[in-house]
Amino acid sequence: MQITININGESRTIDTFPMSRLLDVLREQLHLTGTKEGCGEGECGACTVFLDGQIVNSCLVPVAQVNGSEIATIEGIAHNDQLHAVQQAFIDHGGAQCGICTPGMVLAAVDLLNRNPEPSEADIRTGLAGNLCRCTGYMKIFESVVRAYQK
């Protein structure tokens, strides 16, 4: 089937199978490899993307359900050469270690700050609860999010 999506502000039409995972279409057909696959079952959040303004696990979304939708991936979070405050904070405060969870963590944090510009400690924990870091660098990730909204 053919589907048309708006991906990071650009309209693209793709030939695909209806049950293809959005994750695979992003990585293999659109070559947007910033979105990572961790568990492939909605536990780890590495494949997080924005779908019509809400974060989703792209490994759990069949592509037939996104026809006509707006999708933003980690590649669409910076504005031109200007990193998003969350991205800059992750760099400045060691929020990234091996990097596999980082795109998902950044998007979950951007989503949190979009909804709640001054989150409490509990809000940050809830906002990032769906994202696992196998390096277990949670405190630095947490601190990066705090610094991002304090800027």
Binding site: F17, P18, M19, S20, R21, G40, E41, G42, E43, G45, T48, L51, Q54, I55, V56, N57, C59, L60, V61, P62, A64, Q65, N67, A108, D111, T126, G127, A129, G130, N131
Partner: protein
Amino acid sequence: MRAFVPHYELTTPSSLAEALALLKREPGVWKPFAGGTDLMVLLEAGRLPHRNYVNIWSLKELRGIEVTDTHITLGALTTYTDVQSHPGLQNEFPMLCQAASETGGLAIQNRGTLGGNIVNASPAADSPPALLAYDAEIELVSSDGSRWLPYQGFHTGYKQMLIGPNELLARIRMPRNTRGATHYYRKVGTRKAQAISKVCLAAVAKVEQDQISHVRIALGSVAPIVVRCVQTEAALRGRKLDTETIKSACATLSQEISPIDDIRSTADYRLQVAKNLLTDFLFTVRA
């Protein structure tokens, strides 16, 4: 091993009527597919046996939350995120909001639906205990019409339920009779977020003239289906809330549930925790 996706069909009808017509024309051939948070996990594991799905995600007829004088009615596609942000549900049905907030992370809550949680029919599902304790009813629709039935009794055995191949779960409604009640929802899992429950208890009760009334108790992960514990309720109804009553309710509960050993927990642990949660609930009612 991962499934071969070209083998799967996912067709998108433009209306509820079209979806129902398809289910009627080829009964058993098509199964509904909503937010995908359960089915896609099976797909990725190569364990999604059925091949043809109807994409109901975009059917507006199955969305929305309606409040009337007597009920709050939720479309089957109401997501966990929708549930948590609804003021009427927060005020009168807080256990449903809590269940929604403890199901997966936010990315799951944005896609997972109440209807999906019911028809996926997992005994460990998080919202069904709350729905049972709130005496929910469900509406099944088909090309031939609609029928409402009590949610209690809908699941007849492990993954078995009273729904025909031509029917869709359309709406869920709860009577607005919870004012003045104590609401107690507690999910016990390995981790606070994302984990599937080892035991889950949802219960409401009131104390009027020193007697327990309006008591409804349901548990998840302790039987082949999520169970409403009517015998335990009977052991409490009309009684004075004292140590003797709590002891006898716990004894009744032990007979009413049938927990097993599995990858998430053991029968012994589940039985003990179920009794602890019941006791904690009754202490909360008394407080």
